[in-house]
Symmetry: C2
Subunit: 431 residues, 2 copies
């Protein structure tokens, strides 16, 4: 793929582009049933957008809005101009749907290709996509980007670890798209097979679709010998390709020529203070078939201050701390699972697999953390294990402000999954 | 997608194009390790191709050749010029691999789009792909074709029938890609749900990936109210898009600008007599990264005589009778499972699901056919059932020249599968 000049746009040009595209987006959106109504209710019209600050005059869009608009209330063009439809798995209630025109698919692919090029992938790379294809946007999204960049894409899909490894070996795969929990699973699998993960020769991992901690990234890089880059996207905003780390690995550049970014306080809905963590709100700037205005992603992050040494001026967001949905409330304290993961993964004695159980004993909520101990540390010395357990409980308490019960278990004894791992089991009210 | 003039090429133009492309193909192929050796061993060089008859001077290529060339012995360009890799599931031994350049993917997509347009699909169609994505070529192959044609593609993938039905209903799907055994399964599923398959409003089904009989096609058309078109392809030749029925539903036009077709006697390897069934042998004419010369597909068919009323001059092959691998030999008689299917599906009393069991009693091979009887015919009247059993056994005997044992079983009592159905179980030597 040819060099993409939008990657290195200067701040002034970004702002100019954003304003003109925001206006177009609002004009398009006004043709949809949802926004025709919302704009009317908010007393705002596309021609009111005269500066980027006028963004705040527009209404927010929530997941609930998308559900209520099922199946096509956000569409701005007739169905025969659409070429693709993705549907969320909809585990809870009505699924959400995203329609794409041919132009939308081209835009999406070019953003993904831009991310890949930014982290150093070239047509000489062999790219294996280990996430599922079909309706999940991480499959086709990454696939189209890789093909556009010109590297060789192996559409492996999810699961079947034995085959994943064989293809990586036989076709000299250099780059993977992988979800963090599967990367941890793969590390365990290779250890059980007596294979050195570094012998696979992987150079780059694109890691996304689940929040995960810096400690896990460092651990994965150490095990596999690749550089792992954080990928951020959500199906409502196409999927992957919204924001991506550059080789500095210090925050994810959000492609501001395609998305307009806000961070808000999820309670007051006012803009977060500079550098403060809040809910990410995104507006599509290039989407034709189904533009979305001020979408409340429920993902928590903050805008990182200062310029990036790489020279790109697209703003950087911090790694996602969690989704507002992931929040665990124990004894009145707010905890994100990623805080627990971060502590566990910083300890060399702890293996790749862990589980958080929430229980209620009497009227008191309890949090129990089960962690696998690595083979070489799982000794018969009960005193050493007890000391380790003690240490973990202390470190967790410092992080989450609640003292959890800690169980140390044998390697490979917790439930495994080749898909997204289930890390939190809430047994409260079910006993 | 714009009109594709190659669809209506005249015979003379086809031949001229084939000769020039065959020469290019041989020149390219000679750069691969496999063909450099094979051409040398056969004492043939690309410049020896002076007419289409010279095709017969070239060596055949077998599945075994592909396996021995694993992973890249057929490649003619460096890996960094490849953009896609598909690997066969390789249930038996080494998998076979097909590499594609960007041009190869474009060609493949344009052939699939041509098939879709030929059967009457337009950008106004909503297309649901019910086969699996990832490495299986029916997923991405059909998907790229549909997007190129400009219809809306729903990348549903295989399985999850409840969801398949919901998407068909909610998004007013008009065209499906479906394997025949899954179409039968879907019919049963809808019946169990009390849903009328015709209420789905499906217009067109692209049916392939398994051999199936004309009787099954008529039954599916009757149940669903769609027109079902036979699709032929194999991963070695990209996947779908090799040959496809036109709206006459009388043989599949094989796209001769992209594939050179022979039918041979699989024993003597001589050309089959005109109209005689034999093994289909294909040569790629447009493939850049990995051309294949005279590939023995092991699929059995014949070239249909005479012009097609639709006016297309690309030759037509008959529906695939079976793969040489599917052959069942019972008491010295050759039987293809499709012959049994054809008899069963012609009987309105028989349901959508059946199973063929091969057993050995003493030293004598037996064939047992288990067929589900439809609810309204599964009466308590033992005499009526016995008469039906008798009739089926007679019809089968006329078709396969062996008298099978016939078991009539209750509706929904045989094993079901959302994937390819297992229709033949060989228990000989396993008892
Ligand atoms: Zn940077
Ligand atoms: Zn025709």
């Amino acid at each position: 793929m040819r060099y993409d000049p939008a990657e290195f746009l200067a701040r002034d040009d970004i702002s100019r582009l954003q304003l003109s595209r925001l206006r177009t987006t609002c004009e398009r959106a006004a043709r949809s049933r949802l926004y025709a109504r919302k704009f009317r209710e908010h007393g705002v019209a596309p021609e009111d957008i005269k500066s980027l600050d006028d963004l705040r005059r527009l209404p927010f869009t929530t997941k609930q809005d998308l559900r209520e608009s099922y199946p096509d209330g956000l569409n701005t063009v007739p169905a025969d101009q659409m070429v693709r439809l993705h549907v969320s798995s909809g585990t809870t209630g009505t699924p959400t749907v995203v329609y794409h025109t041919a132009s939308d698919v081209r835009w999406w692919s070019s953003l993904v290709a831009r991310c890949m090029r930014m982290v150093g992938m070239t047509p000489a790379d062999v790219f294996q996509n280990t996430t599922s294809y079909g309706l999940f946007t991480g499959g086709l999204g990454m696939h189209y980007g890789a093909e556009l960049l010109g590297c060789m894409a192996i559409p492996m899909g999810a699961g079947n670890t034995q085959r994943q490894v064989k293809l990586i070996q036989d076709f000299k795969v250099t780059a993977l798209h992988i979800i963090p929990s599967y990367a941890l699973y793969l590390a365990d699998y290779l250890a059980r097979q007596g294979l050195d993960p570094r012998s696979l020769g992987l150079r780059i991992a694109l890691v996304g679709a689940e929040p995960y901690s810096e400690e896990t990234r460092r651990r994965l890089e150490d095990i596999f010998g690749f550089k792992a880059f954080n990928s951020y996207g959500l199906s409502e905003m196409n999927g992957p390709g919204v924001a991506f780390e550059c080789r500095e690995q210090n925050g994810m550049h959000l492609w501001e020529d395609a998305y307009l970014c806000e961070v808000i306080d999820p309670v007051t809905l006012e803009p977060a203070r500079p550098g403060q963590v809040g809910e990410l709100v995104l507006t599509t700037l290039c989407r034709e078939g189904m533009p979305i205005v001020r979408y409340r992603t429920r993902d928590l992050t903050r805008v990182l201050p200062g310029p990036c040494p790489c020279g790109r001026e697209h703003l950087r967001i911090d790694r996602i701390t969690g989704r507002s949905d992931d929040l665990i409330i124990i004894k009145g304290v707010n905890i994100y699972p990623i805080q627990i993961e971060q502590v566990l993964m910083s300890l060399p004695e702890v293996g790749q697999n862990y589980l958080i159980e929430l229980t209620r004993e009497g009227h008191i909520d309890q949090i129990r953390v089960k962690a696998e101990v690595r083979e070489e540390f799982f000794v018969e010395d009960m005193r050493a294990l007890a000391a380790l357990r003690e240490r973990i409980a202390h470190r967790l308490r410092d992080e989450i402000l609640v003292t959890p019960k800690v169980d140390l278990v044998e390697p490979n004894s917790l439930p495994k999954s080749e898909g997204k791992a289930v890390r939190v089991v809430d047994l409260r009210g079910k006993e």
